[in-house]
Amino acid sequence: MIDISGIIDFRNFYEIYRDILTYLGFSEGAYWMSFLASAITFSFVVINVMILSTAFYTWFERRALARFHARTGPNRHGPFGILQPFADVIKLILKEDTIPDEADRPVFTLAPIALLAPTLLIAAVIPLSEDSFLGSLNIGVLFIVGVTSVNSIAIFMAGWGSRNKYAILGAMRGAAMLISYEIPMALGITGVLLISGSLALTEIVKTQTVWFIFVMPIGFFVFMAAATAEMSRTPFDQIEAESELGSGYNTEYSGIKFAILFLAEFMAPIITAAIVTTLFLGGTSGFDVIPGQIWFIIKMMIVIFVLLWFRATWPRLRIDQIMGFAWKALFSLGLFNIFLIALEYLVLTNGGGRLTKTDMLIMGGVNWVVGIIIIAIIMNIFGRKQLSRPDPIPSPLANMGIRGE
């Protein structure tokens, strides 16, 4: 089994640079230089890997989406149009970078960076092996939940700074939606934390003797729905509703700033897939012939494809439907999930200790039945509630001549 885990650890970089510095004859006082050098190398690697994968992901998304819609998609540049992202990037970089006259210039300029930075930060803590890029961060989940909430500020900055009606409308919607959906997302994660008993992502991966998607389907459902909303893709793309707001918060952006905004937007599914893989799909675990990193990437690709499938299928929801879904359905489901998991944990372990594999399988069986029933009930409750419309009043002129005598 090939193990590439040593390459992707911050401490390894640090040790290599420290050895080099010692070899060159520096004393211990100069070790901060190795720290700096390893940080630069590390961020260079992460940023480039993420940008390249995002570029190819845009190509994949456009091709697959086209296939879902019975279209062709980009097919002119290179075989199957694989060079399309590079053409897009060149075009966007060469375009004029305009800033509106009355825009709030510093806010307008900072917004793309503020949107991109959290996404890249999360990439640093995803455990691709025993350790993540940053080493095993012992508050990984907290870090993820905290850092993802920055993007609501970034979107609001973009909308506010543009001084454009559509942009500010999109940003207001975005602020309302993103903040609402952070609560279900946190509730969905809480179930995972209850079983694994740790906030470290590496520890969560280790405790998944049975993948958590099988143990807690409700939590998975809640987390997936909330994460889809967090990255504001199609069932929840109120922020940039093209048909209503004319592209929403990025209306005024062009050139390289627009490129960065879209980079962040297309990077979000990759990061989300990585988080879902870590929390619910067992991370790097798999059969032993293939290395764990490859397993991780395969699982990520499956999650990305499922998210794309949702995007291709479902239409955009109304804003009240979105908020209702977050606060009525997902919030209650999340709380119910925590209650269920906690109860089962207490019953199965007599109030302490670890869950064994059989315990988890029993929990899974119960939870799947309960989950399907509960979700069906919620669907029925939501489906019954029709939008109340006034009865149409017939025009007094409509029946003239038939009744009038």
Binding site: F68, H69, A70, R71, T313, M379, N380, R384
Partner: protein, 223 residues
């Protein structure tokens, strides 16, 4: 049961994704997958000689990587760009310029001693058509007494500058003589097809046959 529509929709899109028969209903510029036969036919060559001279293309086409770009089927009577101008027939009377509703034809003439069959012709210094503003009504073609100007049939004339859209005399002289059969339906009887690329001489296109000496005598002398 509410909510099942969500999953039905998912099944529909997945069927689209999986089944090849559901694919590519909307194709604007279809690229036809080409066999070596098609490629040889495109270059007007024998299949065997094509396969010998282009082994790489042959293998690629057998694998299914080569394709021929197709255009949409288009009627030969389509009025389009690429005006066809028979310069030896033009007398410089500027009827086309006078009839043009948008005034986009510019003609500057000078005297000359050349006699056409029914009168004297001018020397033409400038003959510009600004097809950037043309609406392709075809009134200039109808107005021309000597059948010197005809519509073309192109429609993909994208340029980077508006000024490039002005067709001047040199361009008109150099252009392929592929008139649209819109104002000359007799061209369809002569198997002229502007899209497939047969060029037409003025004799095919013109309304009038040149009168013979006998006809002229009948008309003017022996009446």
């Amino acid at each position: 049961m509410y909510g099942t529509g969500i999953f039905k929709g998912l099944v529909v899109t997945m069927t689209n994704f999986v089944l090849p028969s559901r694919q590519f209903n909307v194709v604007q510029y279809p690229d036809k997958k080409a066999s070596p036969l098609d490629l040889a036919k495109e270059q007007d060559r024998n299949v065997l000689s094509f396969m010998v001279t282009n082994p790489v293309k042959t293998i690629r086409s057998l694998v299914g990587l080569e394709s021929i770009s197709q255009k949409m089927p288009q009627h030969p009577r389509f009025r389009g760009e690429e005006f066809v101008w028979y310069d030896n027939r033009c007398t410089g009377c500027a009827s086309c310029a006078k009839y043009c509703p948008l005034g986009i034809i510019k003609i500057i003439t000078d005297t000359s001693g050349v006699n056409l069959q029914e009168g004297q012709s001018y020397d033409i210094d400038t003959f510009d058509i600004d097809i950037g503003r043309c609406m392709f009504c075809g009134l200039c073609v109808e107005a021309c007494p000597y059948d010197a100007l005809h519509m073309g049939s192109g429609f993909e004339e994208g340029t980077y500058k508006r000024s490039d859209l002005v067709i001047d005399m040199e361009k008109l002289k150099k252009a392929d003589k592929k008139p649209s059969t819109w104002f000359r339906p007799q061209l369809t009887d002569q198997d002229h097809d502007p899209i497939k690329g047969s060029s037409a001489t003025w004799k095919q296109v013109g309304r009038h046959e040149k009168p013979t000496l006998k006809e002229q005598q009948d008309r003017w002398v022996n009446r």
